[in-house]
Assembly symmetry: C2
Homo-oligomer: 351 residues x 2
Amino acid sequence: MATLKDVAARAGVSYTTVSHVINGTRTVAEETRERVERAIRELAFRPNMAAKALRTGETATVGVVSISGNDLYFAEVLHGVQERAWNGRFGVLISYSELTDCCPEHWSDGYYADICDRERGHLEGFADKGVQGVIVNSLQEDAELEEQLRSLNLPAVLFQRLVKGPSWDNFVCDDYLGTSQAMERLISLGHRRIALVEGFGFESHTVQFRKRAWADALTRAGIGVDRTLVRNGRYDPAVSLKKTRELLALSDPPTAILYYSDSMAMAGIRAARDAGFSVPDDLSIIGYDNLFTDEYSVPRLSSVNQMSHRIGLEMMTRLAERIENPGLEPIVRRYPQEYIERESTARVRVR
Amino acid sequence: MATLKDVAARAGVSYTTVSHVINGTRTVAEETRERVERAIRELAFRPNMAAKALRTGETATVGVVSISGNDLYFAEVLHGVQERAWNGRFGVLISYSELTDCCPEHWSDGYYADICDRERGHLEGFADKGVQGVIVNSLQEDAELEEQLRSLNLPAVLFQRLVKGPSWDNFVCDDYLGTSQAMERLISLGHRRIALVEGFGFESHTVQFRKRAWADALTRAGIGVDRTLVRNGRYDPAVSLKKTRELLALSDPPTAILYYSDSMAMAGIRAARDAGFSVPDDLSIIGYDNLFTDEYSVPRLSSVNQMSHRIGLEMMTRLAERIENPGLEPIVRRYPQEYIERESTARVRVR
DNA sequence: TTGTATGCGTTATCAG
DNA sequence: CTGATAACGCATACAA
């Protein structure tokens, strides 16, 4: 690998000059600049980022920690982050805190704790690698998360989390809005027994606001809130399948189910069919995320749109701003959600 | 940030000793080691990776370039890579060569070229960042790809690509096997008009061997090879929907269609239903990748399994070996594929 | 068993 | 307009 010195020797100048030519950091005579640029080309010189990082402290790298790579939802967010990062010449380091072999069927407290441990480890690993900022989809508890972020003292963007702190921002979807829309639609279709199949992450914006919107909508409509209609599907289709089966086996089964992800809803449709329920005639089903597959599934899946790709882009934009200017006031950015109706929802049928 | 010197000062030793304690690279008196370790803890010292990288040339980072983040298939591969990399303390930089906004409906030669340009740019960017190796799911032509890899001179693993070179290995799935199994099954079910909806990447192992297996199976069975039954779905469900519609509108439409991805097959099922075809009664459909969603779709989707997660793990294992020992002989590793039958395939119906 | 000194490839501060 | 030179934080050859 050629270095500044090699280039300088070839161009017959000091390597200071070469550095300045590269960075455009001071005026260089037209003639010398050309000599230097030619030497750079001839030697195929590429600056050594490690040396640069050591000197300036800028690694031009950020880290993204997310739960899993096996749901298209966060994949879309990540794709957005990567696109924007590349424009800013940032590299994106990734890590998933959930292992794929770990079968969530055998969930336990230990499993959950392991995810959090891994998340913490990844954040530390990122810091060690000298990332200039992180984007975090966390599963830790508020207090833990806040403490770790404080000790890391890195610019950060929290995704779907409302935790305040000096060096980070909060980007959340308006889950209350999206769920409210879906619920009101179901209620207007005459549904009164509406079940909820949740994901994990007890302190996440997602879980808190969707559940609240569910309960509020029922209350507003004068319908009692029946907690037995809430099940934890852990964002896992296999678990969702089981929970849906349980719900449908109730003596007074729900006529509609709202899921926290499209893949869980797909499993729900499956479970319903297997149990002899027709969707949407006997059971209305609504997913979450509005993945492109919703257009193709049978029946087409009603869902709630979250603008995942755009959020990814904008989280990275904001992170870059914060890296540029660490003193920025923390902000909370909310994105609207929108209920999208397709074919998996219908008027309740009199039984 | 505390440095070696700070630790040394606090422990009352030279910073050489501190370095040796950290790396376990020479024997240190029990008593001094303890003093040093305490100082490390008290100062919460973390080695500066940039400095380490500058000195040793080891950044402990690898890069993964893939086409898109919007198909679960490669997401599973990536998840495997990340898991294994983390065990080896490697960071994983990612990049997607396809933009999400670019709507493949409006495909053109320029679009394809743009992907390749971006891929090349990402590889260069990785090299600049000092990655110690790359895992590449390439869309470039063989010659171009080989040339770039040679000039980068980095340890690499090519995914789904058979291009030989001094510093890289080839990891491929046995597409010929998987497609052959699927085709033989269809033929044994009495199908004679079997269509193929392909993905892009003309020089990829995927496209070449699946098409060959398709043609060979037909020939072996004494069925003529009708090229009008081959369409390019570009791995995009929207395109697949259109192509399926076209196929079904033929005067002599296929009775079975094999898709290059599960998401394209899902769109195929949709198109079939919309055109009044029942799956599998009027039309058999087979996907590729064996995603977990196949268990839930309606009908359950027959597909070809590729062991994506395991391949991800093992590509990273191999890359680490090659980084450790760059002189390793290049290898070609093949993974078996297996046809998995579910509900989207049936005996051909006499029309 | 421990310490001193050098250099990795940059950027930045001087001085000319 | 240009060039010496120091320093970033670490690993390591060499000395003691």
